[in-house]
Every structure is written in C-alpha cells, then in structure tokens.
Amino acid sequence: MKDRIKETEVRAFSDIKAVVGQREALEALRIKYLGRKGEIAELFKGISSVATEDKAEVGRLLNELKVSVTSAIEGSLLSSSNKTLSSKNRIDVTLPGIPARLGKLHPITQTIDRISDIFIGLGFRVVEGPEIETEHYNFEALNIPLEHPSRDAFDTFYLESLGGKNLLRSHTSPVQARFMEKNKPPFSIIVPGKVYRPDATDASHSFMFHQVEGLCVGKEIHFSDLKGCLETFAKEMFGSSTKMRLRPSFFPFTEPSAEVDISCIICGGAAGEKRCSVCGGKGWLEILGAGMVNPKVFEKVGYDPRKLTGFAFGMGVERIAMLKYGINDIRMFYENDERFLRQF
C-alpha cells in the first residue's frame, strides 16, 4: 500500500509539473487524482484491507498525499494567473539602463601603466624621483658639462633661489644617479614622471610632459639586452608585427647611443606610402633614445665601470600615447575636456 501511495505521489507531481499554468489540463488532473472517483479516493477505499496496526500510518500518508497534490495543483494554477498579470505590466526593455558611470583614467596614466606593466614583465621595478632637481643630478651626474653645447638640447626652467640653485628636471634621467647612489647592482628599474622644458607650446610641444626612464645595471648587461628589451616593448605596445630599428646618435650619458624607431603603426612602412600623415612616408617613427650607460656616469656614483655595464633608455609618454591613440595635438592632454577623457 505504501508503495502505491509513493508511486501515485511521484506520478501526480510529474503530471502537474508538465502542465504548469495550463488551467484546463490542471482541472483534468484535479479530477484524475482528487475527484470523487479519483485515484486518491480509490486509495482511501483500499484502507480497509490494510493490517490493523498499519491503518493509522497509511491514513496519515494518504491525507498528506491529498494535501500536497491539492496545494501543488493550486500553486500551479496561481502561477498561471501571475503570468497573465505580469504580462499585462510588461516593461519597455528598450528604455536605456539607469546610468552606472565608470570614471576613466587619463590616457597618460593608462599609457604609463601599460609601459610599466610591460617592463615589470621583463623583471623591472618601478621607482620615482623628485621633480625639483639640482644641476648636479640633472646635468653633471649625467656627464653633461654645464658649459657645453651638449646642454643645448636640455633647455631648463630654473627656480627663484632660496639659497641653492634648483631647477625643474628636464628629463627623468636624474633618477638614474639618485637610484645608483643608494642601491647596489644588479637591478633594473623604470622611472615614470613629469618633466619640464621651456618650449613654446604648440601642437607637438608642451612645457610639461611625461617620460619613462629605464636603467638596467649588472655584471653582464649588453647592448643586445637593450635591443631585446626594447623590441619586446615595441611589440607589446604597438602590436606583434611592429619592427624596430636603431640609429646611432649622441647622448652624453650613454655610449654607444641610439635613437630607436618603430615601423609606422599606420602604414606599416609600406613602400610608396608617401602620403601617410603619421610617418610622412618615411615608414618609421622615432619613439625613444637609448644606449649603454657611459662609464663616466658610473664613476660619478662610485660604481666601478670595469666591472659593470648597463643600459638606459628614455621615452616621451605623450609621444607614445599620441601614436597609440591617434591624437594629433599634445595640448589636449592638459585641457582635460571630458569629451576627450571619456574616449579612453
């Protein structure tokens, strides 16, 4: 008997589930199970043939079955009327969502973070240094004599004196000497930060801009390592098909020195693309300066240049961001126009 009750319960529930919300089918099921001649009524009739000691329990089970099937059918009917109700109040799903605004990081920050992350992946460490500097760190420690034409490339803002002679760093390179004075090799660092030069402002010049400096020093650090790191950087930053080339150049603090170009990110350096507005048909874009640390720079911080070698590089963040995003006017970075900022 108990087995029949169980079997009826399972079957009734699966029948009800199959026709949820269908008023007529549910009515049919109600008659089938709960009607006067329904299955449950038939089961009640069989109670007389159950052994006396089991009668009470079977009766209880049958009552429970009746209650649960009744409430299942009612529940199912209710959900049918809810459905009708909710379809009447259907929302316009094409209305705009209620704005949940995500702020944007300045494109310069995004570019610095990207550059930093690439070099972190190559084992570099990010450090910073002061913007107000001395002539010593900005020039002399970097083998730039005070009265020499090599200084002409570094026009500099000086500060009204408080006794000493201070300036706004014209590049992030002063951090090289500051870091080396306090740390022992081997190390590899990159240094992002603001720099200042008294340049008249136009679409490609700003008196304040950002640089990222890199410095890697150790017992066996080679020019080939510089090339490998920079090529990895170029490919990560501008895409894996980017090509890189180095041209000999001159910086007082590196020797050998190089200017580093990448293949034009617009025309890819395709021959004959004379009209490319980004590279001017040259096929190459200058992105950074680099070289092996000049032994004189090591001597000035008390390193032994016979035992150590190292490479250094420096890049303009605005230049990289302008290339990457196709921005054609450096002033836009500092206007902070929302319509500009929200694009990145």
Partner: protein, 677 residues
C-alpha cells in the same frame, strides 16, 4: 647644417641619389631633417649632434661617407704659396694664450675686391648665404669646406700696425658687421688694433675693418679659440654665427694652417694679390694618446662578437691610426678632428655604429632579485585610481606651473609659492601650491563646453618652501559639480555629501579607519560647508564647497565641491592587508529608531551616544532618514537610525533586543534631550 648634394660630390664619389645618401648618413648617425631642391641641386638639412663638430664641414661629411662606403676622400690640392720676400708689416701679439692657443695671420697685398665668380656664388647660395664680395665669400666658402672659420681684415684700417688678441676692457664698444653696436665685458676675447677692438674673437668681425670694394690689402686670420670662452661670449651677447657655432664645438686644431693656405690660394687665384708669409703664433697641438680596444670588452658591452679584423678595418677607415695590435687588443690614435674619441668605449661605439646596430642580436637580460616590482607607494596610487574610477570619477592631469594670478584667485598665498626664474610666459611663473586651481580650470573649461555633470580627480605633486629648501608633496584632489540626472530618478544637484561619500568609500577601500570630519574654516571654502579631515589627530585633508568669491574669480557660476587629501600623510595608515573574519552564525535583528533632536546636535554625537549605550549586541548603526518640515517643530530635526543587533555566540532573544533598544532610547533622551517620534 645644410649639405649641398652637388657640392659634397666634389670631395667624394657619390653614386646614390640624395634620398639614398640621406639614408646612408642616417645609419651613420647623421640624420636628415628635410631635403630641399634648389635648381639642379638638392640640399640636405642634416642634424649634427654636439659630439661631432667635424660634421660641420663638407670635408668632414665626405670623410664619413668615404669611410662607410669604402670610397676615396678627395681633398682639394693646395698650390704652394709663393711668398715674396716682403718684410712683415704687422706685429701680432697674443695676450691671452689660454683662450687663444693658436693664432695665425697672413698679409695679402693688392687684392682686387669684386664680385665672386658664379661657381662660388652658387656654393654660398646653397648654404643660404648672400654673396658679399670675393674675399668675404672665400672665407665663408672655406669655413664650410674645412670647418675652420677665418676672418679677413682690411689691413689699412688696422691702426698702429699691430694686432692684439686680448680680453676686452669693461665697457669697450664695437660695431660688428651686422651694424649693431655692442658693449663688451672684460671676460670677452677680442682682436684689437692699437686703439680699439676690431673683432669679437671667433664670433663676429667689426664693421670698421671689414673688407669692402675699396679694400686693397687684407689680413687673413685663422685661429683656435677656446670653446667655453666663445660660448660664454656668444651667449652673453646673444650673438651666434657660423663661426661661433664651430668654435664653441671645438674646431680641428691640426687643420688651421691647411685651411689658411686653402683660403690664401683661392684669394690669390680669384682676387689676385701677393700673399705674405704666414705669421704663426702658438703651440703645436698636444700629442694624442693611443686608445686601446680590448675585444673581450667590446663583446661584453655589445653582447655580440665582431671579428678583430673587421673592427680594425672600421677604425682605420674612420681615420684612426693603428698603433699596434695583439690577439685580442687593438691600439689606435684618434685624429684631431675626432675630439669625441678618448676612451675604449668610444671606439666600441664607432665599431658598433659602422658595423650596424641592427645587425647586433637581440637578447633579454637575466631577471634579478629585487624588492617588490611595484613599490608600495605606486601600488597604492593604482588602488586609489581604480577605486575612484569605479566611483565614476574621471582622472585629469593639469599643469604644475600656473600664473600667480590663478594662485591668488584660488585664495592661496602667492608669496609662499615656488617661482620659476625664467618662465616663457606669465602662465608658467609659479608652481602650484594646491591642486584646486588646476581642477577649477578644468571645471571651467568643461562648463564652457556645456558639461553638466563633472566628477574629477587628480593625483600630483604640490610644491612649497621650507626655509632654504623646496618641498614636493603628493596630493590627491577631488571635485564634483553640476547635477546628476537620469530618466528614472529625476535630477538633483551634487552636494557636499556626494563628495564626502566618495572620500569615505575611498578610505574604506584603502583600509583606512577612524576618519573624522571636523567642521573647519578656510578662506578657500565657504564658511557654511568646510571640514578638515582628521586621522589619528593629524590633519590629512580638507573638503568643502569652494568659496563663492573664488568661484567668481574663476568665472564659475555653479557650486563646486572639492577635496584635497595629503597622500604623503595618509600612506602610513593605508593597509592593503586583509584578513578573513568568519561570517556570523546567528541571524541579526534590525530595529529603527526615529527621534526628534535639536537641529545643531551633530550626527557624530548622536552616533556616539547610540554606540556607547547599546551594549555588546550592537552590530551596526546607520542613518536612514533625515527630515525637517511639517510636523517637526522649528529648530528640531527628525532622524531615523537603523540599528542592527547580533549576538556572535547564540541566536538573539527578543528580550535582549528590547533591552538594548531601551538603553539607546534612554541615553538619547537623557544625554541629548532627543524624543522618540
């Protein structure tokens, strides 16, 4: 420097087109900025770096082309100068041998000053110079050909029959050939006759003794002047010339006599005249020390091995004299025109440069053990930025340099600002003492472009003075202004509490606890809403509504709320460590308390009374409604707090909740006079 393609071909065979030549030069380190066509010629504007003054002459550039292409350098032959047996008619005295170690001069008599032949004019015009007369043109031509600046004086206008190389007397004046009178300082070197300066040495000749069509006899000067002295003079006088440009970069000390002979030869050939004997005063150049290149060091620097024979050939081709070699060492003597070659690493660069940087392989340096890759400060800044953008704030970057007027407009003390000694414009004359003026500038820019809803932040340094030192501190600036609106919720203006909420959420995300906002007064902010932000009894920031008079000076019409947080002071309190706390096992119970209190009872006071009175089962309390108006008497305010109770070790009983709730009500009544609503 301009390089005429046609002219350059006089000194070396050039088979490639001007464009290909420009590529060749670029790969040697001499990049072309532009190529310009002049008639049948092409002019390459090349950018000469400070280390290669030898490239400031045609022979210098031709020598490089010859070295890297393996072609032959063709230096013009100089006819032996016939020197008639004339007596010297001029006395030359060099008073300052330190600034002028070599001075040569030669008298050329009976020249016919006139127009230059057309070939010579073409050369000068290619350099962008206006031909003057044959004598001046020849000295200019030789300057570009040899890199040695020379000057011709009208001999008959030099009074007293002598030439002196001396320091100027303070206040002495000279009218140079550009017609401008200049007052000289006693640090400046001049060429003088017995009475007056006739040239600013190495910079520019004087008008009085210049060679013109009436000149008969000339004195041709070729000398070596110390670079620093020329640079100082040129800078002080703001007078730069083709001549000073070369002297301050150091001319080839071994080439002076050759250059003088070359100019003399051309003068005699073109203008006639009889050349006298060269008067040569000065020391012979110091002997050069050989430089040794160790091939092991070369490979260690480059990470690439280059055969010794290859290195030897490269250096020889560049004009270095071999001074012996062993199995892995090469010794060379650098020529005088390569002052930049002094040490082993200079030779390594030369070998690598000509071998080709791009032929050197690419490797990755070993990763070495270092402290954390992202120092904690920088990691914190990233967290701050992530939190703030998540809260809908846009990051801005404004200039660190401002006008003093902008600083004053923001009600900041101009006299405390760090000032720039050499600003380009008044917009850059001072360094910002606060991030607020820059943020207000950005607000104005956007309001003028119809922005309605601005939430901005900036992280950057501010600058100040501390005694004789400058200070630089990391600040965070925040600002909200305008209205927030959407179709479902309508619109409302931002308030102080919108910004305060951002700040509180930020502190929470940084693990900074127990922040206090204390009512404060600051002339930059309105008296009605301004608070200092305190942490462990230290002031770590300020927040408030920008004072209307400040907004007026910035031409902003709507209220702006700003906050500055002194990140440098906050760093020690920031904790990025998190430890898991087991979730409560037993359910909590929430009860609201609605009270009417005096309007000027501070929220913090009420909170502390609730927290102080409820006992151990209090879990949390927060304000859910604040109301004044109908039904609430004047001077009173209705407040509803939602109090959450929980017992960590068992299910709360109704009795416990009632008891705690009762205690709170009692305390609010007895301590603050608040009544249950």
């Amino acid at each position: 420097m301009r390089i005429s393609y046609n002219w350059l071909k006089e000194y070396v065979d050039i088979k490639e087109s001007p464009e290909d030549l420009s590529d060749t030069l670029m790969s040697a380190g001499l990049p072309t900025e532009s190529i310009e066509a002049i008639g049948s010629d092409k002019i390459l504007e090349v950018e000469v770096t400070a280390n290669r003054p030898d490239w400031l002459s045609y022979i210098g550039v031709a020598r490089e082309v010859a070295a890297i292409t393996g072609r032959k350098l063709k230096i013009p032959k100089i006819e032996k100068i016939k020197t008639p047996d004339t007596k010297e008619q001029i006395k030359i005295r060099v008073e300052d041998r330190a600034l002028c170690p070599i001075y040569t001069a030669r008298i050329i008599k009976n020249v016919k000053v006139g127009e230059s032949p057309s070939w010579l004019k073409v050369r000068l015009e290619a350099m962008g110079l206006r031909p003057v007369n044959n004598i001046v043109d020849i000295t200019n031509f030789c300057l570009f050909e040899t890199g040695e600046p020379m000057h011709a004086f009208d001999l008959d206008k030099l009074s007293g029959g002598e030439v002196l190389v001396r320091k100027a007397k303070k206040g002495e004046k000279i009218i140079a050939i550009d017609g401008v009178e200049r007052t000289l300082e006693d640090s400046m070197l001049v060429i003088a006759d017995s009475s007056k300066p006739v040239a600013i040495a190495g910079v520019m000749g004087g008008l009085k003794t210049e060679v013109n069509y009436s000149t008969k006899n000339i004195l041709l000067e070729a000398a070596y002047f110390e670079p620093i002295s020329i640079r100082r003079t040129s800078r002080k006088l703001s007078l730069s010339s083709d001549s000073s440009y070369r002297f301050e970069r150091r001319i080839d000390i071994s080439n002076i006599i050759h250059s003088s002979d070359r100019a003399t030869g051309l003068i005699c050939q073109i203008a006639g005249g009889q050349a006298g004997k060269l008067i040569d005063i000065g020391a012979k150049p110091d002997k050069k020390k050989p430089i040794t290149l160790n091939m092991v060091k070369l490979e260690s620097v480059l990470g690439h091995s280059i055969p010794l024979v290859k290195a030897k050939k490269i250096l020889s081709d560049l004009g270095l004299k071999p001074k012996g070699s062993s199995r892995e060492k090469l010794s060379f003597e650098a020529p005088y025109f390569r002052y930049d070659l002094k040490d082993e690493v200079d030779l390594i660069e030369e070998v690598a440069r000509v071998y080709g940087y791009n032929k050197i392989r690419n490797t990755i340096p070993p990763v070495v053990e270092q402290p954390e890759r992202l120092s904690s400060d920088i990691a914190i800044l990233r967290r701050v930025r992530t939190a703030l953008t998540g809260l809908g704030m846009d990051e801005i970057i404004t200039y660190s340099l401002l006008s003093k007027k902008t600083i004053a407009n923001a009600a900041l003390a101009v006299e405390d600002a760090v000032c720039v000694a050499n600003p380009l414009s008044i917009e850059q004359e001072a360094m910002r003492p606060s991030l607020v003026p820059g943020m207000l500038g950005a607000v104005l820019w956007n309001i003028n472009r119809k922005a309605k809803d601005l939430k901005l932040f900036e992280i950057g340094h501010i600058y100040g003075k501390d005694g004789s030192n400058f200070t630089e501190r990391q600040y965070l600036g925040l600002c909200v202004t305008g209205e927030i609106s959407n179709w479902a919720g309508g619109s409302r203006n931002y308030s102080f509490f919108d910004l305060k909420g951002v700040v509180e959420t930020l502190f929470d995300s940084l693990g900074v606890k127990d922040i206090l906002f204390a009512s404060a007064r600051d002339c930059r902010f309105s008296d009605a809403s301004c608070a200092s932000i305190e942490l462990a009894e230290e002031n770590i920031g300020i927040i408030g509504e920008v004072d209307p008079s400040v907004l007026n000076d910035f031409d902003i019409k709507s209220p702006v709320y700003t906050c500055e947080i002194y990140l440098d002071k906050l760093y020690p309190y920031i904790s990025t460590k998190r430890k898991f706390e087991a979730l409560p096992k037993y359910p909590s119970v929430s009860r609201d308390i609605s009270i009417v209190a005096d309007k000027d009872t501070s929220s913090r006071k009420i909170m502390s009374v609730i927290r102080g009175s409820a006992g151990a089962v209090l879990k949390d309390v927060r304000l859910v409604d604040r109301y004044s108006g109908k039904q609430i008497p004047d001077g009173k305010i209705s407040l509803t707090y939602r109090v959450e109770y929980q017992n960590p070790i068992k299910t709360l009983e109704e009795k416990e909740v009632m008891e705690a709730h009762g205690k709170i009500l009692h305390a609010l009544g007895s301590e603050l006079g608040a009544k249950l609503r």
